[in-house]
């Protein structure tokens, strides 16, 4: 079986590699001037007063893809909650308070608020500057985990009531969907960015529904990452397998 596997891997891998190399030779040259989609996307983004074209693509032009991606994260979190639940042959142990080196503790506590604010800033300015809900959400969620490094697991658990984060994850998904459905109720297409004024270009309140969808994503991603990490950390720190089973 081992030899068969190696043969398959060799032949299949070589064939696929040859195909990919041949395909890459047919790719358009690097750095050309023809960007049909890019040109259209920039135009559409400027027409709706969204300074960050990427956000316009994410939350306006292709907001429906973002809905799918957000749902993937939501489903992944829900899947982890289900799969990483406490099994019958496991029990919970309180983690021991751990000794943390002083410089690490000081540094972590110093950086925590900075990281948190940075995350929120990146979310809030998604429609203007690079970044947005996805990136800022991850930064904000990981900032909380500096407490685990700087203090211990118990401290992290105190600032992280899981139920609240699970609920806010789901509420954010609801918010995104409700914003999309609102335009259907208004008689236009799903997720149409026509409900709100587009505002002044390059200000916080520009871009119509883009900042709102962006904020919903930020909230979803931040809560989802907290819940995901919590369940994996629980597996590593708290949940123990029963002895002798």
């Amino acid at each position: 079986m081992n030899r068969l596997r190696l043969w398959l891997l060799a032949v299949g891998g070589a064939g696929l590699a040859a195909l990919l190399v041949a395909a890459c030779l047919d790719l358009p040259g690097f750095g050309g001037r023809r960007h049909p989609y890019g040109d259209r996307a920039v135009q559409a983004s400027l027409a709706r007063h969204t300074a960050n074209t990427i956000s316009s693509v994410n939350f306006d032009q292709r907001a429906y893809d973002t809905l799918g991606e957000m749902s993937i994260l939501f489903a992944a979190v829900l899947g982890c909650v289900v799969l990483l639940r406490q099994a019958r042959d496991e029990h919970r142990d309180r983690p021991e308070p751990a000794e943390v080196a002083r410089p690490v503790r000081r540094y972590a506590l110093l950086v925590l608020p900075v990281a948190l604010v940075t995350g929120l800033y990146v979310v809030a300015h998604g429609q203007l500057s690079p970044g947005g809900g996805f990136q800022g959400g991850v930064v904000a969620a990981t900032a909380l985990h500096l407490l685990y490094l700087g203090a211990d697991y118990g401290a992290l658990e105190r600032v992280r009531p899981l139920g609240v984060y699970e609920t806010s994850d789901a509420v954010a998904v609801c918010a995104y969907l409700v914003l999309g459905l609102a335009s259907v109720l208004a008689g236009t297409a799903f997720l149409a960015n026509t409900l709100l004024p587009y505002g002044t270009f390059n200000t916080l309140s520009s871009g119509g529904t883009v900042p709102l969808l962006n904020a919903a994503i930020g909230m979803e991603v931040a809560s989802a990452v907290v819940v995901l990490l919590a369940h994996f950390l629980d597996q590593a720190v708290e949940i123990e397998e029963e002895q002798g089973s």
Partner: protein, 587 residues
């Protein structure tokens, strides 16, 4: 009306999000009722849209209507096949939720709605994939339905087998998804477009001398992703491992519609992206799909016959039938497409009903082992009758919907391929009938155990403890599903309606009349008789069912080792490339 198409995705997702948001305070019964309402509401919406899908609808999400033929938005299609699949998905989800009424034992501390929510996301994802008219968007929903399916497969975490099956499923399907994404990237590099129709036109505009290596590679990569989902040989190894361990209501969806969505995706993507002069020539697609489809049908049927684990047996019969679907789609005729559409609808009802019956055995006896259960289920008369009726539906006994679809497809493929259809359906149905005879009737001697088999004994029931009495929902749901599969063949004009909507969407409006023919009926009867004869022989001469020497290596290929499956996936992509190569070289 067309503004409502994306609601097929939004409504189930909203339902799932609400269930999770309120999961900590909601009693279980409220969560399950919410699930019914949301999934039933979506099903009703799908039916209404389907009734209005002539002429086919298109919806630009966000109102990004094309200006000068160009749009930056995403389109979803509301034609017969798309909405038909969405309807099938929604109705089957509703059936699975009804079957799972108060099903699992522990309501997962504080997450009473988690299972229902996952099922709703699954429904929304499959609907989203069905209506996708944008290739990247199709990939997004492909991923979403995969992610939910992994979680649902591994739901019973206390069983190592379930976790292992879900892991295999996850690794193989994720690799398929990456292949698909890479293919989409290549197509985007060439055409600068993501909408399927626009990519197709872009390929035709740029590929003056016919397809080149880039087109071939993108075709191979995109099809690899879809064929992994469709469980075509040699991408199929994940399916029996996952379907044997997934909770029964999930199996109903996995085998009933998710796998078929892979075949649907092949039809949609080839027809809109690669069918033009700049794409892959028809002869190459036919060679690739008919070869892989025939192999899939043959291997699926053989492996199905030599299983004693009833859920694995049913899983392999799904593999065999997707092989038949791929053959029918591969010949690229309007009749073939119509036949497969009907076949898929009938098969969804029959296969889901069979899984539902297998679930009854599992929860009543804690075993799905054909040998251990020999004669045990004599008193489950209703389930036994449904199992037998389902087997005959699988064989394509007229007037089941499966029989109508099979006979139309058989006439479309013609020649020796007809034999593949008759043989594969007869062998898989024969295996199910054999199980019926042994388990529900106790016929024949108890077969001897062979070495190294996945037996299906010592399984954990999915309900809280073994059931002493089968709840009505677990009998009603398969009965309704079988009735639906029966009605699909009998309802006057149903076949014609399906055929018209499929042809309007994909065959350039060619009008084909789909109806019962004498040959088709005779072939259907022949498969059923053959199935009964095979089952009879197997029960009276058990030595006959013992796997012969040549089948042993075939069975050893299903090693359960993820590495093997990945190697086969690479091999499959290479084979697919080789099968489609002549058209590229010749242009």
């Amino acid at each position: 009306m067309h503004h409502l198409i994306p609601l097929l995705v939004a409504v189930p997702l909203l339902g799932a999000a609400l269930l999770v948001a309120t999961g900590r305070v909601l009693p279980r019964i409220a969560a399950e009722i919410t699930g019914f309402v949301v999934s039933g509401g979506t099903a009703a919406l799908a039916v209404v849209l389907l009734l209005n899908s002539e002429p086919p609808m298109v919806e630009w999400i966000g109102g990004w209507l094309p200006v000068g033929g160009e749009s930056v938005g995403i389109l979803v299609v509301g034609d017969g096949p798309a909405l038909g699949m969405a309807t099938a998905v929604s109705l089957l989800t509703l059936a699975a939720l009804a079957y799972a009424w108060r099903y699992f034992d522990e309501p997962l501390g504080g997450h009473s709605g988690a299972f229902t929510a996952l099922m709703l996301v699954f429904q929304g994802a499959m609907c989203g994939f069905a209506i996708a008219g944008d290739l990247f968007n199709a990939f997004v929903f492909f991923e979403l339905m995969s992610v939910v399916a992994y979680a649902l497969t591994g739901y019973r975490i206390d069983e190592a087998k379930a976790v292992q099956g879900a892991l295999t499923f996850g690794v193989v399907n994720s690799l398929g998804a990456y292949a698909m994404l890479m293919g989409i990237a290549l197509l985007y590099a060439r055409t600068g477009e993501l909408a399927m129709t626009k990519i197709g036109r872009g390929l035709d505009a740029t590929g003056h001398g016919g397809p080149d290596a880039l087109v071939l590679a993108s075709f191979v990569l995109v099809l690899t992703g879809l064929l992994v989902k469709a469980a075509a040989v040699p991408f199929h190894f994940w399916l029996p491992d996952a379907h044997a361990v997934a909770p029964t209501p999930v199996c109903m969806l996995l085998s009933g519609v998710m796998v078929e969505l892979g075949a649907y995706g092949v039809w949609r993507v080839y027809g809109t992206v690669f069918a033009g002069p700049g794409g892959i020539p028809a002869a190459d697609l036919t060679r690739a799909l008919v070869t892989l489809g025939t192999l899939t049908a043959a291997i699926g049927a053989v492996m199905c016959w030599y299983q004693r684990h009833i859920k694995r047996l049913l899983a392999y019969s799904t593999v065999a039938h997707t092989g038949l679907f791929l053959v029918g789609l591969g010949i690229l005729t309007p009749e073939g497409d119509d036949g497969v559409a009907l076949y898929i609808l009938g098969h969804a009802g029959v296969k889901a009903a069979l899984f539902a019956c297998a679930g009854v055995l599992l929860d009543r006896f804690g075993s799905v082992d054909e040998h251990a259960l020999h004669g045990q289920a004599r008193r489950l008369r209703a389930t036994g009758v449904m199992f037998a009726v389902g087997a005959l539906g699988l064989a394509g006994l007229p007037p089941f919907g499966t029989a109508l679809g099979k006979s139309v497809t058989e006439e479309a493929v013609g020649g020796p391929l007809t034999l593949v259809f008759v043989a594969a359906s007869a062998i898989t149905a024969g295996a199910v009938l054999r199980v019926t005879a042994r388990v529900f009737l106790g016929l024949g001697p108890r077969p001897e155990d062979a070495e190294y088999e996945t037996s299906g004994s010592d399984e954990e029931p999915e309900t809280s403890g073994l059931l002493s009495r089968i709840p009505d929902t677990m009998t009603t749901v398969p009965a309704v599903l079988l009735a639906a599969a029966f009605a699909a063949g009998v309802a006057p004009g149903f076949g014609a309606v399906v055929a018209r909507s499929v042809n309007e969407a994909g065959s350039g409006g060619a009008h084909v009349f789909v109806h019962w023919t004498l040959t088709g009926v005779l072939l259907g009867v022949a498969s059923s008789v053959l199935a009964v004869a095979l089952a009879g022989l197997a029960v009276t001469r058990p030595g006959w069912t013992a796997a012969p020497g040549w089948a042993a290596p075939l069975r050893r290929l299903q090693s359960g080792h993820v590495g093997d499956y990945v190697a086969w996936l690479l091999m499959g992509a290479t084979v697919l490339g080789a099968l489609a190569l002549p058209g590229v070289l010749g242009s």
